[in-house]
Point group: C2
Chain length 330, copies 2
């Protein structure tokens, strides 16, 4: 784990450098500051790291994919800024969110600016790669992920307090909201390495699986994590009445009495005791272990896909990242 984190840190430095230099000429100043703010708040930069490692694992160089990797981080940041406005979340990565430091208008524009800059940045990859065909494919891949992010966020909003959501629909929602951009990162890495279509497909699937596992692990951690490490109260999804894979599973499998009790807690619960009562129901139907098993299954599937790769330290990094997704504590 320590090795992996050091490795991610190394990529994070290159990506930050690329981002900072590319965003430095935005004007006016308040738009520049609002656009840059969240890119400097110490995110893990998992997506760009995945793009770079995927490219290197298939014989490409960091330089081939650095602009695309940085662009994907900009897209991720754009979606966080707009999501925080929509959910009126006050805090992001331990700091006030963009629309709280500035206002909704500047936050909308900062998101839009990062989005625009992302596509400009990928198109500038021409300096670092011979094939304009590869750039075209990367742009197409990232644009497709952006559509899915919007669709996933809209579905997430529709699912609020909708207690009839099916597991299949929930998984599609989290694939779009979280998995699609991670899959676009690994796929773009493969594209920029000049990989063949089979390899590109494998890297897309790998990214999709770890993206799904990532979100399911988020749902799981909300209920079982060490509160101090998690940085927020355990069970806050239940108090907020959020649909998670665990809730969806219990509502699909519980008897009508337990369903009603759980729905009542999701609608009205606000205490630690309410969370404890909900946990009893979730445990009764094995919903927590169901979620944990599902995340592990996706990670297993993701790693299995990598069997075709030669044994390199890049392959080892991709395996470690897959493991990290379900072994992290926050």
């Amino acid at each position: 784990m320590r090795n992996l984190l050091d490795n991610l840190e190394k990529y994070s430095v290159s990506v930050s450098k690329e981002i900072n230099s590319f965003l430095s000429n935005i004007s006016p100043d308040n738009l520049k500051e609002a656009s840059i703010y969240l890119t400097k708040s110490g995110g893990k930069m998992l997506r760009p790291a995945l793009a770079i490692i995927s490219c290197e694992a298939l014989g490409g160089s960091e330089r081939n994919v650095i602009k695309t990797a940085a662009a994907i981080e900009l897209i991720h940041t754009f979606s966080l800024i707009h999501d925080d406005i929509m959910d009126d979340d006050d805090v992001r990565r331990g700091r006030p969110s963009v629309h709280k430091v500035w206002d909704d208008n500047i936050a909308i524009l900062a998101g839009d600016t990062l989005f625009s800059k992302a596509f400009e940045l990928i198109s500038f990859a021409k300096d670092d790669i011979d094939s304009v065909e590869h750039i075209h494919q990367a742009i197409s891949t990232v644009a497709d992920a952006c559509v899915k992010i919007c669709e996933g966020q809209a579905a997430d909003i529709c699912f609020e307090k909708n207690f009839k959501v099916k597991e299949e629909d929930y998984l599609e929602m989290i694939f779009k909201k979280t998995g699609a951009l991670i899959a676009a990162a690994t796929k773009s890495g493969a594209i920029m390495a000049g990989a063949n279509q089979d390899e590109i497909n494998i890297f897309y699937e790998y990214g999709k699986f770890i993206g799904l596992a990532f979100q399911i692990q988020d749902d799981y951690l909300d209920l079982v994590a060490d509160e101090e490490k998690l940085g927020k109260p355990v069970g806050s999804d239940i108090v907020e009445g959020k649909m998670t894979i665990i809730i969806v599973h219990a509502l699909e499998n519980g008897n009508s009495e337990d369903r009603e009790r759980l729905i009542d807690i999701l609608k009205n619960g606000n205490s630690k005791e309410d969370v404890r009562l909900a946990m009893d129901i979730l445990n009764k139907y094995g919903s927590l272990s169901y979620a944990s098993d599902l995340a592990q299954k996706y990670v297993f599937d993701a790693k299995k896909l990598l069997d075709v790769l030669e044994d390199t330290h890049h392959k080892q990094s991709l395996i470690s990242i897959a493991d990290f997704v379900i072994n992290r504590e926050k």
Copy 2:
């Protein structure tokens, strides 16, 4: 003028068809409806028409540029939806704006979706054109315009009630906010026609000049138009305290007493009488005719650029559009 409008109508039909078919698979339904809503509200579709006519004027076909043209209209629509949220404008094209029919969250997402779809659509131009290099250039051009639109909108927000704005800064703001996407449309048309760099530059400049003239004419019409044709009260920019080229000119050229009176009206004015008093000051310094002359100068410059083109009906259309920009009554 009648001929020109018929011509625009023809292009508008093709572009609408492209847009409708491309947006039909957005999900969930409320996101699809919110995304499509404004594309069906009878806009002039001047930008896509300019892209197509520019392409045809340089020997390309409508098919070469139709996806890029439609994408540019999607970008324009995205910017209207987000601008209406920021300005809390209730009405757009005579109908309730997107955030009024749905809410701010769905409107933010609808804008983001159109933005994403636009880049996806340009990348799909591969079906209609041989050169992936041209698609790459078009994407780069449109992304650059998107950055400028955000910067222009941010500058516009900064300029509100800022009575020290210089003409140069105002012109840069309207170039970014309005001119850049029009210039991207004409430039993309040239790119997709396979034009050489000189021709591409000329078409960019042509678009830039008519974009500037378009916005200045908007400022001018607000004060001199027939109220019924304009569809809103004459002088509403003054009542809202907006900075326009006319106000900027008067504030730069007026004596200190007139400046103070004008600023007082911009801050506090709300009646027809206030508008009349402001008009007296604007006329005293020739600010209205200054604006009108400037718009005409830009249109003259735009048309002059077209001298290098052979005499075709496409060239005639570009001349007519330039004239239309300053001869329109709303």
